[in-house]
Amino acid sequence: MAKMPDMSFFGKTRELLYLQSYIKINDNSSALVENCRQILECTDVCVRLLTSSFEIEIWGSRLMVSSFAENSVEINGTIEQVRLISRSMRRDSNDIGQH
């Protein structure tokens, strides 16, 4: 089970300054991710995005990425699964070579 991020001063600040990532999913046809920092991967079946706190994996079929505004990404296609990986966990797993 993923470790829940602790409530911290920086976490609260990000919330107040709207620096958190916002994910809006419409049925299984599209998802809008705001405050996206980087696109890591973009294939037909998997899209990986990096936000300030999480790495977001979106699995599905015929996935396509569009960006119409700064730091916002829209994923279109048939979405089957959305996975959020905490960046701290990602660092840990990278350190031990699991990912």
Partner: protein, 416 residues
């Protein structure tokens, strides 16, 4: 994406750098996905240059695989030069026809006034095909007002690619009502009075009496006298009353006219050449389908308008065809008989135009000829109006100031 977009296929080895840069550069893109070891992405036209620069910086090769919107339309148009030429021609025609006169609307029912206005406009160069910005409508209005007496007011308005001439005709005031001045009925012909219908005025000549031109037949000056006998004798009081003589005085009179026809004359003949002018009518616009009006003199032989109809309703577009016959003016030497025949035609036209209001009782013709031509002297015996109204007062307001008499009374100009 409003102006259109271009589809790219990006190939390279380091997609991570490409993805990273595309976010950092804040590029706008659409439908990005990996397929067959390449990335397909659609980029708006405004971001294309930045995108290509980014690809080069990321060491990725790119190629354009398609386009949408304006780039696609431009590419399609370039492939079809006819469309481009048609559009260009349309623009040029629109620019041309929006600056030339296509039609002239003259707002009058009187064909004579319409013809006069058309002639004056044509003399001044205002006709179909004239360049509108070169025409000063104010000056043209003044010109029309000066040259056309039948018009009390004339206004010209530009209506799209045409001009509209509005006219208010001069209406002659009703003499009996607006002038209201006393008048005589004066003989205008030498003749014999046969019939009198008198409504007002004093008849000075009896039925059966002869009159010469200028005689007062009905007087508007009515003098009534009354006498009274007193111790001092007879006192005569005269009272003068001025009226407007109203009535009809008919009689028989003669009138002699000469009709001259020269042997050497000019006639208008048809050359046998025909020409057809076609116009495309769209709503009120009349677009000429010819480049130039043929040179020469032409008379209209036939005019046809073809408007398609649907269920009896005429559609607002169609064609107008005007067939013209070319005419030529030639000099011709007439024989004596032909000259007399032409003189007879002149007499016939005179009778139709000037003797319509009279009954022709008798007509005597005397033919004579000389070296240049023939003369037909016709003596008409006519029955009709013998008199015309003749005002005998000059209204004070029409006299110039310097000519005004010392006395401001109405001047009696009666000279009888």
């Amino acid at each position: 994406m409003t102006l259109g977009s271009i589809e790219y296929l990006v190939t390279g080895t380091d997609y991570a750098r490409f993805y990273s840069g595309i976010t950092k550069d804040k590029l706008v893109f659409r439908d990005m996905h990996e397929e067959h070891e390449s990335i397909s992405v659609t980029v708006p036209v405004g971001y294309c240059k930045r995108f290509e620069t980014h690809c080069k910086d990321s060491c990725c090769a790119f190629q354009k695989s398609g386009s949408n919107g304006i780039p696609k339309i431009c590419r399609d148009i370039i492939k079809r030069p006819g469309l481009l030429a048609g559009a260009l021609l349309t623009v040029m025609l629109m620019a041309y026809y929006s600056n030339v006169i296509l039609r002239i609307d003259i707002d009058t029912d009187d064909p004579a006034v319409r013809d006069k206005i058309s002639d004056v406009l044509a003399e001044d160069g205002v006709k179909a095909g004239a360049y509108l910005p070169d025409i000063d409508l104010v000056l043209e209005e003044r010109s029309l007002k000066q040259k056309i007496d039948d018009a009390a007011w004339i206004g010209i308005t530009r209506t799209g690619s045409g001009i509209a001439v509005d006219i208010i005709k001069t209406e002659e005031a009703d003499k009996g009502i607006t002038i209201g001045m006393p008048c005589h009925l004066v003989a205008c012909e030498d003749g014999v009075i046969e019939e009198v219908e008198l409504l007002d005025g004093q008849l000075l000549k009896c039925i059966g009496s002869g009159v010469t031109k200028g005689d007062i037949v009905v007087s508007g000056k009515m003098i009534s006298e009354s006498s009274e006998w007193t111790d001092k004798g007879e006192t005569v009081t005269s009272k003068t009353r001025y009226v407007r003589s109203l009535g009809k005085v008919k009689g028989t009179f003669t009138r002699t006219e000469e009709f001259r026809q020269l042997y050497d004359t000019e006639i208008i003949t048809l050359t046998g050449n025909h020409s057809t002018l076609r116009y495309l009518n769209i709503f009120s616009a009349e677009i000429p389908l010819f480049l130039k009006i043929p040179d020469g003199n032409f008379s209209t032989a036939h005019e046809e308008k073809h408007y398609p109809e649907i269920n009896g309703y005429m559609l607002p577009f169609g064609m107008t065809e005007i067939e013209l016959d070319e005419t030529d003016t030639r000099s011709q030497l007439l024989t004596e008989d032909e000259a007399f025949s032409e003189a007879e035609k002149l007499a016939y036209n005179y009778e139709n135009n000037f003797l319509k209001n009279y009954e022709i009782l008798d007509r005597e013709c005397i033919k004579s000829s000389d070296a240049d031509g023939v003369t037909l002297t016709v003596t008409y015996t006519l029955y009709g109006d013998l008199c015309r109204e003749s005002d005998f007062f000059i209204p004070r307001y029409i006299l110039p100031d310097e000519e005004n008499p010392q006395e401001k009374n109405v001047q009696d100009s009666e000279n009888n």
